[in-house]
Symmetry: C2
Subunit: 330 residues, 2 copies
């Protein structure tokens, strides 16, 4: 078996974020829970977009955001995801590659268009997401070759993409290839609805020893274990080698395979503008720590530094060099 | 003749801004003069985009930005401009109408696509623009009906759009309709290259008494008059009823038909993030003052308040209510 040549390969949604300011009254009128994420269909996307304020289009997608953050830290990374052969797809590919992420999955002809996420940001910086998966749904099973998977130290999988069957098959195939090559597998649960819908599958992956690093927040952990958050974290910590629990403004927690517990506070931010991508880019910092041989605590600290940068502006990808920020702050 | 039912109608480019951070070395390597604007073709757009950092897509276009600012101040406004029937066109229409601007020009089928402007922002907030006019080129001569022109107190024309022949014909037709209906005509020279290319035409409009309010900066004034800036301003002030000269960080100046001179300083801004649209949204404040019966000095002050908001974030359209800002600050 050859040595890995890149740090992280991720399979995830290829989604353009459409970010608009709103207020709590609008969320209430549209029946949205602040801070949530849900999937919407094309009809609802048109309806909701028609009611939204002017937007900013910025490339997103959970795992892709993590990769953009990793690249900003200096890691070698690659992405597998599905855009359509349209204007938003062109923008998506440009933004990701310009961020330093290798992205070779060919665009898909015809309908549906490139996926987008209508993101409503309230004055407190909280984001509420409505995702039209679009072409992302149709990532083919063989999108990530076994060789590509084997080339990366860590395979990162995005829970959001467990929903559609073809991408799920692509992720199952990649898990096999990663295990065969002796690589680590990181998994982000992403949202409570993902865990609710796919609890059995996620739990089976854990039970089969196929997740080495699990990223979740407390709510997602609780749903996964069908218990209160505290006991869910304890149970999960016993079953995955490295558990990372993000707690928003309360920081983050990691528990390693020996049961040792590490915690960091969230870093102060002058103004929280938009929390979109906070968890994704926390994972960038944490995974960078892991691939560069840092301690679990330093990995958490890198996550905090990365998160603080991304919530201080609109959009889910870093605008400043995370490498420089880590050099200054750690 | 019926009374006007809206405040300002503008004819301008329908352009999506693609805004990316850069540094002075990149501008130098690409042979760009910091702060300039130039037109590029499709081939150069692909080449330049391929070298640019990840972008933020935010709707723009000089006159449309002015209208978005006017709507934010509470004015009734309408836009005439050409988008293509594509994803960027859909985004453009959404953003403008969601900002409160009426926009009924039908999208154009087929090539070229909706126009875009590749904007490079240096750490000092200065923007350097590379515009692919795209569908904007093909605004048909009859796009603004005489009735629509007559319905607005002020017709605003964008100098950028004087370049392509069809939109120029549309503007000439609108000028006639505005004069026939006894409306005021405002004209923004927009950029030095526009003035260089169309100096004769612009000067003829002034000589024929077809410009009531002229927006320019000192450099554009100097090119227009082929003299130094100071004497150019004096000459132009004699020939147009209301001359508005924007001077970036040094504020702005207006000279009325009696030769009275008014000046305002630029308002302090915590951090200049992106100066894109500063002049356009200065015009929003100034024109709002004019249509709401304020003095020339108060119109200038409104311009300063509007400009200060728009340079404090990425993108050329206000993110905060300009009406609220003016109520607080004036």
């Amino acid at each position: 078996m050859t040595e890995p040549t890149i740090d992280v390969l991720a399979i995830g949604n290829a989604i353009i974020d459409v970010i608009a300011d709103t207020d709590d009254a609008f969320l209430a009128a549209e029946g949205m829970r602040s801070g949530s994420m849900r999937l919407i269909d094309a009809e609802r996307a048109v309806e909701l977009y028609g009611k939204m304020n002017p937007g900013r289009e910025i490339s997103g997608g959970a795992a892709a955001n993590t990769l953009a953050g990793l690249a900003s830290l200096g890691a070698k990374v690659a992405f597998v995801g599905q855009v359509a052969d349209d204007q938003l797809g062109t923008i998506y590919r440009h933004d990701l590659t310009a961020a330093g992420v290798a992205f070779d999955t060919p665009a898909r002809e015809g309908e549906p268009p490139t996926g987008r996420c209508l993101i409503l940001v309230t004055p407190d910086g909280q984001r509420t997401m409505n995702t039209l998966l679009g072409a992302s749904h149709y990532l083919p099973e063989d999108a990530a070759s076994d060789e590509l998977v084997a080339s990366a130290k860590i395979l990162l999988l995005e829970g959001y993409l467990w929903d559609p069957p073809e991408p799920r098959a692509a992720m199952r195939k990649a898990i096999k290839a990663a295990r065969a090559a002796g690589r680590r597998i990181a998994f982000a649960t992403c949202a409570d609805f993902c865990v609710k819908t796919h609890r059995k599958d996620f739990r089976a992956l854990i039970d089969d020893g196929l997740i080495d690093i699990l990223f979740a927040n407390e709510e997602e952990a609780a749903i996964l274990e069908d218990s209160d958050a505290a006991s869910a974290v304890e149970t999960l910590a016993r079953d995955v080698p490295l558990l990372v629990i993000t707690k928003g403004p309360e920081g983050a927690l990691a528990i390693d395979e020996n049961g040792a517990r590490f915690e960091v506070a969230a870093l102060p931010v002058e103004r929280v503008v938009d929390t979109t991508g906070a968890g994704d880019v926390f994972a960038s910092g944490f995974l960078y720590g892991q691939v560069s041989g840092r301690s679990v605590l330093d990995s958490l600290r890198m996550g905090s530094i990365a998160s603080a940068e991304v919530i201080s502006h609109y959009g889910a990808r870093p605008e400043k060099s995370l490498k420089d920020l880590v050099a200054e702050q750690l």
